[in-house]
Amino acid sequence: MNLLEIENLSISFGGVKAVDDVSFVVEEGSVYAIIGPNGAGKSTIFNLLSRFYEPLSGQLNFAGNDLLELRAKDIARLGIARTFQNLELFEHASVLQNLLVGRHVHNSQSWWRQVLFTSSVIEAELEHRRKVEEVIDFLELAHYRNQMISGLPYGVRKKIELARALCIEPKLLLLDEPSSGLNPEETEEMGFWIEDIRRDLNMTVVLIEHDMSLVAEVSDRVLAIVDGKVVTEGDHTFVQSHPEVVSAYLGDVQ
């Protein structure tokens, strides 16, 4: 069954078509990778899914919901979580607080109960905390729990952003370059986690990635885009050997 369906999606910025007639589907329970050189339009696809940008044309369908009818703040509640290429953590808050914001969609306490901090709020808070602790255990973040984000190194922040997305308990996880800025060991670790997330947490994953060995390791299907257009789609060996992908990447290296 298809969890995510994207049809003929286009957007342009000042005349430049950043995403040009892109269509693809993501099957439930799979790991789907998007590759392409810098400026290909990969992150823009995520930002369209998050409803940060209004597309010029196209359809976005998630588990029977038309995303174009929704606003950015409604997306998480449907079960779509994401990370950002340049990290968007809450800098002046603790790791725990950051992760608890991930539980926001599961909060149902009225504002006045929160002001009075009634017993029902306490109950709910304890439940959120238990869920957050599960994620902390899963990603081995216990050591950082009470530290401020602003004092943490990059690799740890990256993990925390992933953890925060997991706290939503989403059906679909969008990861924008999960391995960028990580050293080889951390990248390998990231690969294991992505597999665990799919297998143990039953989430569907779409990732944007430059590291081809990570793509090969975790993904079921790969989409290659160049200049906003789909070049090819298939399994990773097929996509990686496609002449246009090869030339786009070699061109990128020069």
Binding site: S43, T44, N47, S50, F52, A72, K73, D74, I75, A76, R77, A81, R82, F84, Q85, N86, L87, E88, L89, F90, E91, H92, A93, L96, Q97, L100, V101, G102, R103, H104, V105, N107, Q109, W111, Q114, V115, L116, F117, V121, I122, E125, L126, R129, R130, E133, S150, G151, L152, P153, Y154, R157, R164, I168
Partner: protein, 358 residues
Amino acid sequence: MRILFKTNYKQDLNLAKHGGHRFWYGLLILVLFAAPLILGGYYIGEATRILIYAMAGLGLMVLTGFTGQVSLGHAAFLAIGAYTNAWFLAQGFSSFVALPMAALLSMIGGLLVAIPAARMSGIYLAIATLAFAIIVEDFAGHLNSITGGNRGMMVDVPTLFGYQIWESWELYLFVLSILVVATLAVLNILRSPLGRAMIAVRDSEVSSQALGVNPMKIKVFAFTVSAAITGLAGAFLAHYMSFLTPQIFGILLSIQLLLMIVLGGLGTVHGVFFGAVLIGVLETGISIAKDTLPSSIGGLPGIEPFVFGVILISVIVFEPTGIYGRWIKIRSYMEFFPIYRRKSFKRQRTYLKTERLR
């Protein structure tokens, strides 16, 4: 150095995290309530002023410190609270009616600003709130029948259960009680989903949305709570002043409030109190200095804004985290002595944030 053994998550929800907290904050509150037994009328008056500043600062901190929305016009809410309170008392209502009405009307004012302002940020928001404050000040000057216009307005003393509060120590206790309640309410918000959402909106509006937070709603909520608390502070300010003129609520007061929370430490409740004490003591100090210094210096106009400005700039340059930040450093220096390392509070390199979404 204290090592905390936590046995359940509930401990983290408590306001006082351990016995030491409970003891020191308990003692502080006790001393504050007992202060009228020790201090004379003059000092109790000064202390009342500091408490009122703290209440107003608490309101502003909710908006600026925790939600990241800079307001240059919080004096407007003080004005609305002050005049509403005075008017209802003048009509013969008791403080039980006048105070909630002061909070309510101020809250409505907050809503009026919030709905357009929630779409703005940074300098635009600052200008919009400034404009609002100017409008309110202007209104106060022209609504002669309610505010007495520029001639001013006498404020009746507070009444509770038919009892009139005349003594300065009574007013002090009244303000202190309400301040304790307001502080508890803010602390509750901060340990709830709403408080976390406020911080999320402050630190990254984009990712707060991706996590299901509605920044618009959160900003409006913060504005309303902020206005209500500041309105209450205004109501008490009216009693402290006992005579209201629109000039009290000028731009300088708004700036002073902002200065207070920045000096104290943005984004902390402690900062509110540190800031209020500092500003309160400074004001007293300046007015004493004015009287004792030769009039060629003491009589110079604009000496207060000058001193405040110098202090603000030095804090921003030398201690951006405010007095509370400095206090934390001193405290951990003592706790960890002799193994304290300066580096503990060094920030990691911050990562480029320019291409925000790309």
